[in-house]
């Protein structure tokens, strides 16, 4: 499996001297197309830093981040921004949709910033909205959508075009458990179309929907789950019936 997202011994230090904070310590992570990885850890464990560095929104102090095999640190700021827009999609807890744009305009904005013509962008946007089941809401504004619909639009925006990496930060934070499950189904389906997904969360149920779970503590990956056994392992009769 080719890694679409790879972190090689990434460390991040903020401040200097007595105020030095090691947010990440030699974190390595490799996620292939079709795979969804969850990173669990308490507040302050380094989840947000890991997300911003994986998404090339921030530079690591040492180590390398490769997106589809390309080391972004070697690129100019302009090229970095371009690659970021084309290859990486983000989903945030509070959706971050722009209030003045319709659902489809929110989804196509990154494409248009990238120079894609309006008609082609709209067609890609409508396809992404349809995959998420919100095509009928394309011309509505965010405040005319329910929480679940807004999150679907946010996911559509994250997977529109040829995005290869999907990064999500507590993507179900504001939703109830059944809506959260729907969001996880959608994220999984998006990954199964060949995207590498990473979701940061402290929610055990959300994390358990991933193929693999990494545990972050004090900036280090301290543990990860083993490969999943088949579901038939649950079908053994209980002892007390």
């Amino acid at each position: 499996m080719t890694a679409l997202l790879e972190l090689r011994e990434v460390s991040k230090v903020y401040g200097t001297g007595a105020a030095e904070v090691h947010a990440l310590r030699q974190v390595s992570l490799s996620v292939g197309g079709g795979e969804l990885v969850a990173v669990m850890g308490p507040s302050g464990s380094g989840k947000s830093t890991l997300l911003t560095i994986a998404g090339s929104l921030e530079e690591p102090t040492s180590g390398a981040v490769l997106i589809t095999g390309i080391d972004l640190s070697g690129a100019s700021h302009n090229d970095q921004a371009k690659l970021r827009r084309r290859l990486i999609g983000y989903v945030f807890q509070d959706f971050n949709l722009l209030a003045g744009l319709t659902a489809v305009e929110n989804v196509t904005l990154p494409l248009e910033l990238d120079g894609v013509r309006a008609k082609a962008a709209r067609s890609a946007g409508m396809k992404a909205l349809a995959e998420l089941g919100v095509a009928a809401q394309a011309d509505r504004f965010p405040d005319e959508l329910s929480g679940g619909q807004r999150q679907r639009v946010a996911i559509a925006r994250a997977v529109v075009g040829d995005r290869q990496v999907l990064l999500a930060d507590e993507p179900t934070g504001a939703l109830d458990s059944v809506n959260s499950e729907t969001v996880m189904r959608l994220l999984r389906a998006a990954c199964q179309r060949g995207v590498a997904g990473v979701v940061m969360t402290h929610d055990p149920q959300l994390a358990s929907c991933a193929d693999r779970v990494l545990f972050l503590r004090d900036g280090r990956v301290i543990d990860q789950t083993q490969a999943l056994p088949g579901p038939e392992s649950l079908l053994t009769p209980g002892p007390s019936r």
Partner: protein, 213 residues
């Protein structure tokens, strides 16, 4: 899980043969609880003796008998559905006891022990979540069963998270390898007795420690 009441519930829809009851039981529990046909007939016999069901077959051969619920069976089912399950006498929680005891074991890395359990719980949760995600969204039986187990396991993970956060706040261990909290005599005594007699751990830990759930 009461097979007895599950069979009564299936019979509340109308008379049914034993084999059909077995198939419907498995279907409605998302096939997560397999039930063999022998268990079904044994349970039906008991229900019949108790006057809660009656059969129309006189030849005695199980597969030929059709069962129907009696008015007494209906009353029993209604009463059972409204009776809360026995939550008043929770079992002693082995995991809580293990973590409490590990606090008194020299050289034990309690946070690592907590993490080992957390990983195991998340792996279990993954199996239920993936079972649910692989099923059709309208498979209500399977979803309800998986949810029940997921919420139970989530509770344990959240307790482990809280334990981890509390352990992080503890001062560094003293040179003897015992946790610094052992300096508080009353708690040390309580924990020592927990370590000496695991069965008494829940009481020794006192209320509010999560020893009971």
């Amino acid at each position: 899980m009461s097979v007895r009441h599950a069979l009564l519930a299936l019979l509340s829809e109308g008379p049914k043969y034993g084999l059909r009851l077995q198939q419907e039981f498995e279907q409605r529990t998302g096939e997560v609880w397999p039930l063999n046909v022998g268990q079904v007939y044994m349970t039906l016999q008991r229900l019949e003796r108790a006057g809660l069901v009656e059969s129309d077959g006189e030849n005695g051969a199980g597969t030929q008998k059709r069962f129907r619920m009696t008015p007494a069976g209906r009353a029993e089912l209604d009463s059972w559905l409204r009776t809360p399950p026995g939550e008043d006498t929770p079992p002693r929680d082995e995991l809580v006891i293990k973590v409490l005891i590990s606090l008194r074991v020299p050289g034990a890395d309690v946070r690592d022990i907590v993490q080992a359990h957390r990983r195991h719980m998340i792996e279990l949760m993954q199996r239920y979540s993936h079972l649910k995600l692989a099923a059709a969204e309208d498979d209500i039986g399977l979803a309800l069963i998986a949810d029940a187990e997921l919420f139970r396991l989530e509770g344990i993970v959240r307790w482990l998270d809280a334990a981890d956060a509390r352990l992080k706040l503890l001062p560094a261990p003293d040179p003897a390898g015992l946790p610094a909290m052992a300096a508080a005599p009353a708690r040390a005594a309580a924990l020592a007795s927990a370590a000496a007699a695991p069965a008494a751990a829940a009481q020794a830990a006192g209320p509010g420690t999560g020893a009971r759930r």
